[in-house]
């Protein structure tokens, strides 16, 4: 562990920007001024997150403020996601919010609030991803709700206010369960360690997890899973998610689905690590497997029946969060590694598609897929980008989601969950059908005759092009630094060095890093590597 100012710096930047924007008058300044400050904030977070990733990939874990903040390889994945997706949705926001301002959906005061809350939201998510103090971790997750509630209800219409209310009530109540779980974990730790200062730190709790009281550890994990699972959108606590995702401005939907849900998953993983050591794998894995498959099963059908583009995408988030939770529940180096890779892949793909839904809203003025036809004819670049995103989300190669889904399925088969994986695969075919429907009818169908053939501006297309490029790059071959980061994070979760190279099945064995001591790609490893469940006591 290396003491560094980076964690504090990355937190202070967006927080300071949010405060500055809130303090500035909305009337005296042009919206361009707010756009510039907002863009500077997202670029700052992106640059620092890449710097942090550089340090962590080189083998350091960064700490700050008396170990209250801690970025290891696991946290680094999420900090990087906030940096990248935050910047791209932030860039996308400029064109989108300008359009909303011109069409009278927002006034200048609300534009100022939007940019202020955007940076505040980034700050709260970064706080959740960098916190080592378990109570601050909880405070941060609660703060993400409070920071983003106004963004969800920004348009002030009946439906958006309703969505914001449900979001705030369900998430604060859910996260109150998280607080209870946090309190139980802390009380358990401080009793066993006899040290009330140390027990508040996740690193200390994780190091001494084996000596924790098992009953309290189990109770704590259940509360944590309900609490932070609500925020992650795991079934049956997902009720807020389709409303909030569909009613929020599209870049915020991308940020909610792409990053916020993942921050809650990070907190669950942190407690999963403690619980694995305290009570063994059976209890937490059973819970995760059950919730994971239920989330997939319920959302698969709901995706299919939706006609609202953004609600469809929102239910996709529930499904893919279910798959991540399933991967965590399957466990073992491949299951955990696959789940972490899927976290990254789903973030990029979903941000792309939510930005696509924003372009559709700008062009067609509706999210109803029965009215949205022939995007490719009236907005060809948007059409192509949405098609790419939909194919990626459906899990087709050479896009990224295929790789992580393959790894999770391989892990499931390796661990002997044959029936579960077959059921899961069948459920995913329903999702594929739903996505093909979007491509066939909305992207390729016949466009309305009265609609002019002109795509949205480059400011709204450029971030999507970058996102699609990232989606493809991660699908063709997982870049080596990313693969190493994921491998190291898997080792953190399993607390050993059994992690395998997290790469696409067709990547050459050379992609495996020297530290792993592993010579084969994941396909070879499916048969070669002993599972974590088998080796764990």
């Amino acid at each position: 562990m290396v003491s560094s100012n980076l964690p504090l710096l990355i937190l202070c930047g967006p927080l300071a920007v949010a405060v500055v924007i809130f303090l500035l008058p909305a009337r005296g300044l042009s919206t361009k001024c707010f756009e510039a400050i907002h863009l500077a904030s997202t670029i700052f977070v992106l640059a620092l997150s890449i710097t942090v990733a550089g340090h962590v990939i080189a083998g350091d874990s960064l700490t700050a403020f008396g170990d209250w903040f801690y970025i290891d390889s696991l946290g680094c994945i999420f900090v990087s996601l906030i940096g990248i997706v935050g910047f791209l949705t932030g860039l996308y926001s400029i064109g989108y919010i300008r359009h909303d301002l011109e069409s009278g959906l927002l006034d200048r005061g609300k534009v100022k609030l939007y940019y202020g809350f955007f940076s505040l939201f980034l700050f709260t998510m970064l706080l959740a991803a960098t916190s080592n103090n378990i109570v601050v971790m909880w405070v941060a997750i609660e703060a993400t709700t409070l920071g983003s509630a106004f963004l969800v209800g920004l348009y002030g219409q009946k439906s958006s206010l309703e969505a914001a209310w449900k979001y705030v009530i369900i998430c604060t109540v859910g996260v109150a369960f998280g607080l209870y779980g946090t309190v139980l974990a802390y009380a358990n730790g401080s009793e066993v360690l006899g040290n009330s200062e140390g027990a508040i730190l996740w690193t200390t709790l994780a190091a001494h997890a084996a000596s924790l009281d098992p009953t309290l550890a189990k109770l704590s994990f259940v509360f944590v899973l309900i609490g932070f699972g609500t925020k992650a959108g795991i079934f049956p606590m997902h009720a807020w998610l389709p409303d909030a995702h569909s009613e929020a401005p599209s870049p915020i939907s991308g940020l909610l689905s792409g990053v916020l849900l993942k921050c809650a998953i990070l907190v669950i993983i942190r407690y999963y690590i403690i619980t694995l050591k305290a009570v063994g794998p059976e209890f937490p894995q059973t819970l995760l497997l059950t919730l994971g498959i239920l989330s997939i099963a319920v959302s698969a059908f709901l995706i299919y029946v939706q006609h609202d583009f953004k609600r469809k995408l929102a239910y996709h988030s529930v499904e893919h969060i279910g798959l991540i939770v399933l991967g965590l529940g399957i466990g073992g180096p491949l299951g955990i590694g696959g789940a972490l890779l899927h976290t990254v892949n789903h973030s990029l793909t979903k941000a792309l598609l939510f930005c696509g839904s924003g372009n559709v809203l700008m062009k067609y003025g509706t999210r109803d897929l029965q009215s949205v036809k022939g995007i490719l004819r009236v907005a060809p670049v948007t059409g192509l980008l949405i098609m790419g995103g939909a194919l990626a989300l459906a899990g087709f190669p050479p896009f990224n989601v295929f790789v992580s889904e393959f790894l999770i399925f391989a892990a499931g088969v390796k661990q002997g969950y044959y029936v579960l994986m077959i059921v899961c695969a069948l459920l995913f075919t329903i999702t594929v059908a739903a996505l093909i429907q979007i491509i066939a009818e909305s992207v390729l169908g016949k466009s309305p005759e009265s609609m002019p053939k002109r795509d949205v501006g480059w400011l709204s297309l450029a971030p999507m092009v970058i996102l699609l490029a990232l989606v493809l790059a991660m699908g063709v071959a997982v870049p080596q630094p990313v693969s190493r980061l994921l491998q190291s994070a898997t080792n953190v979760v399993l607390d050993d060095h059994s992690a395998v190279a997290i790469t696409a099945p067709w990547q050459t064995p050379a992609a495996a890093t020297p530290q792993s001591g592993v010579q084969g790609g994941p396909v070879a490893l499916v048969t070669d590597t002993p599972s974590h469940s088998e080796t764990n006591p």
Binding site: T145, G156, Q157, E162, A176, Y186, A187, I200, D213, L216
Partner: protein, 217 residues
């Protein structure tokens, strides 16, 4: 030993005050009862600080007094007194008598759960611990059984008080900053809920949760 009896006794009072919060007819009155309940909670923190000789808990009681007895009830009273929805009535789904019986059941159930905890710190204060857990679930019940969206905010506050008490009972020496973090979050949550509740009332002209049904499926 007397100290611990006092703690358990005060914990019992918490349940009565939370029932008053849940069952009172108007949100403005609920805010008053919530202030009273928080006062009991502060007294509990003080008794606990005395019994466990915890310097941190004295600080907690001071900050809890400022936030929970003064600030939060004041915010809620000022925001909620202006809003009323005559069509909604009390907004309670269950009758008061049934609510009291249910509360008693929750306490008994929580006591049986807590009796399984084997931490030495919890030995003398198990009734209080059971009450803190029950308090958390009473808050949840308030949210589920109240149609008035403003009453749902009180439900959240009760849940928060419950987990706060559990923290104080099981980890009396937690750093003061932790408590400040939790309290600050609670204030922001209440402010945001009050603002959103007011906006909903001004836009939809109702406080009935069952009227919020535009988004479905």
């Amino acid at each position: 030993m007397v100290g611990f009896q006092l703690i358990n006794g005060l914990a019992g009072l918490l349940i009565i005050t939370s029932l008053l919060v849940i069952l009172s007819d108007r949100p403005g009155n609920s805010a008053r009862f919530y202030a009273l309940q928080s006062l009991v909670l502060v007294a509990l923190f003080l008794a606990l600080a005395e019994a466990t000789d915890s310097h941190e808990l004295y600080l907690w009681s001071a900050s809890a007094f400022v936030t929970k007895v003064v600030l939060v009830p004041l915010i809620m009273y000022r925001a909620f007194s202006k809003l009323s929805d005559p069509k909604l009535g009390s907004g309670a789904v269950l009758s008061p008598a049934l609510s009291v019986v249910l509360a008693a059941l929750v306490v008994i159930l929580c006591y049986s759960v807590v009796s399984g905890v084997s931490l030495p710190a919890a030995a003398a204060i198990k009734p209080a611990l059971a009450v803190s857990l029950a308090h958390f679930f009473l808050g949840l019940a308030c949210i589920v059984t109240q149609r008035n969206i403003l009453k749902q905010v009180f439900g959240y506050c009760l849940m928060e008080n419950g987990s706060h008490l559990t923290l104080a009972l099981l980890a009396a020496k937690a750093p003061e900053l932790v408590e400040v973090g939790i309290a600050t979050d609670a204030i922001f949550a209440v402010v945001i809920m009050a603002v959103l509740g007011t906006k909903i009332f001004l836009t939809l002209h109702t406080l009935d949760a069952r009227q919020l049904t535009t988004l479905k499926g």
